[in-house]
Symmetry: C2
Subunit: 348 residues, 2 copies
């Protein structure tokens, strides 16, 4: 922690108030989030081999802007978007003020990088990343996560993904992975289907170092995070949290790219494509009905094309579909669309 | 109005309380809504010529149930659902109680027929119908409407559709069509796109005869309904409103079937299909983000497969799409995705 950077005269934060961010907090977080966007786009374009990211820079009338990058019709990616934004304005929307009433009446600053990739090969999972940072009057917080949505069941992929994220978390706090893994299972859950979106990953919100890792419960979730992690002492400074977020963001490529490499050579046909398009419907349902980032964007007059970049290029709905027993599609529902301890997974 | 049917001793309703419904109100409305479902399915299967409706009857754990009918892979209909439901329970969801606080603490009864049809030929518009009836303690109301979503611009289709609905409205009250047409333009509006869903039709909610045709404004809408229809005296009895709803429901087939007949022979190709799938994305966005029926269903633990039967069988999203100037696709945006006086439309 660089004391010289403090924007107030406080040098230690009282237990019930967040540590003060450094004076250049916004520049540092947004610079990191832009670098993260750059690193991810560069590596993914290299892995794709056929297509590259096209960038649109945009300005938000009420304050701020961003740069949206889209890859289409690639060797691996049917469509994907990696979006950086940095916005500010007068009032946070009501959905956030409920969680952070101290922000009421203050202007806000928010920056984030978010990404969804929809591969063409149904054996390669869809993946999502989002890291974000907010400041509003006396409060600030980090949020975000990474989660994986496979179409076909490969336990080794889910295990590798979770182990990589756990390693990044463990370097910062032993309770991060168990808490944020459960939070992810709870958050990426389609209540109306009683179904998780995929095999999860990590998710957290409102991290300001004030000794509560978990803010919930989420009324849409399948289960509350186990109560002994709710109130554990986890006093963290702004610098601690920023370091953690950088590490968690940089865990994305090593968590995901090896899965692409393992699956890209697998041949697929109409059956797998058909099932992939059907399952993509759940992604649309989640993003439009529940996703905080989508709702925040639409409520704050964000750039609609950038917000809805997460929607898949081609999707199918089918009334009353159910997979045939004994198929890989049925196994996805029975095993992979249930919360599992992927880090310690052992094949039966 | 059959006085003998009254469930209370009141014979005239005070100006600020709704007319009392007859004792058999629920049976009469649900019987009509089932007949409407029957008549529509029978005629549409005949028009389709290749496929028929498959029925699923279902029971809702908390009370009630319904019958869902789906047509797939037909000569005309790529997919369509006509759903009847009749449900009851302890409490209406908060989104409705805000509009009808008198219902707080009372059990509710709700019945409705709703329908969305997605034709395969992009020259035939998608169409939606929903009529519903609620009772909850001291209050009851009718709601619903019919609206049209074309993919290609044919003014004569929009004009025919609106004229047919207007004729049904005009038989009951001269202010019904102008008010409910504007209400429809306001309701079926995608705020995040600043775009109507289609060419509209009629829509109304909370009709209980108490002298206000319009309940609003809808904060998502493009414009409030003109103020002189908001407070006009339109005292209506339960019987008046039920007759109007029956007429409005029966206007559906004559409003829509002639459009199918006019367009079914028109040849189309990849370009039209491509555009149709893209525009269907707006239907998904509307239904999952804004639609009251969808949100009511999901909030009351309705049958998800029946609620989401309205989603199209195949959909496409494309980042930053815009039609080429001078094309029919551009004309759709420029003329048909703006509120228009379709009843009096004159080609330039």
């Amino acid at each position: 922690m660089t004391m010289a950077n403090f924007s107030t005269s406080e040098t230690t934060a009282p237990a019930n108030a967040p540590d003060a961010p450094p004076a250049n907090s916004r520049e540092r977080v947004s610079a990191f989030l832009k670098t993260l966007q750059d690193e991810i786009c560069q590596k993914l374009a290299e892995v794709d081999g056929q297509s590259t990211f096209q960038e649109d820079s945009w300005v938000r009338e009420e304050g701020g802007g961003g740069r949206s990058r889209v890859i289409k019709n690639g060797g691996i990616f049917e469509q994907g978007g990696v979006n950086f934004s940095e916005v500010w304005g007068k009032d946070l929307p009501p959905s956030i003020l409920v969680q952070r009433p101290e922000a009421t009446g203050h202007g806000f600053y928010a920056t984030g990088t978010s990404m969804v990739l929809h591969p063409r090969n149904p054996y390669i999972p869809t993946v999502h990343l989002n890291y974000r940072y907010f400041e509003a009057g006396p409060v600030w917080w980090f949020g975000g996560g990474i989660d994986l949505t496979p179409y076909y069941p490969f336990a080794e992929d889910a295990k590798h993904f979770h182990q990589t994220l756990k390693a990044a978390c463990d370097r910062h706090h032993s309770e991060y992975y168990p808490t944020f893994k459960l939070w992810c299972d709870e958050y990426f859950f389609l209540k109306h289907r009683q179904e998780p979106r995929g095999v999860g990953g990590i998710f957290f919100d409102y991290q300001d170092g004030r000794g509560k890792l978990y803010q919930g419960p989420n009324p849409q979730g399948p289960a509350a995070v186990h109560s002994d992690t709710i109130g554990i002492p986890a006093q963290r400074t702004w610098e601690d949290l920023f370091e953690f977020v950088q590490d968690a963001g940089r865990a994305f490529l090593p968590a995901y790219v090896p899965i692409i490499e393992r699956r890209r050579g697998m041949a697929w046909g109409d059956r797998e494509r058909h099932f992939q398009l059907y399952r993509r419907g759940r992604y649309v349902e989640f993003n439009l009905i529940y996703d905080r980032g989508t709702i925040f964007g639409l409520q704050t007059n964000g750039r609609t094309e950038s917000i809805l970049m997460s929607l898949p290029p081609m999707v199918r709905w089918e009334y009353s579909y159910a997979p045939e027993p004994g198929t890989p599609e049925a196994q996805l529902y029975e095993v992979f669309l249930k919360p599992q301890d992927w880090v310690n997974w052992q094949d039966a």
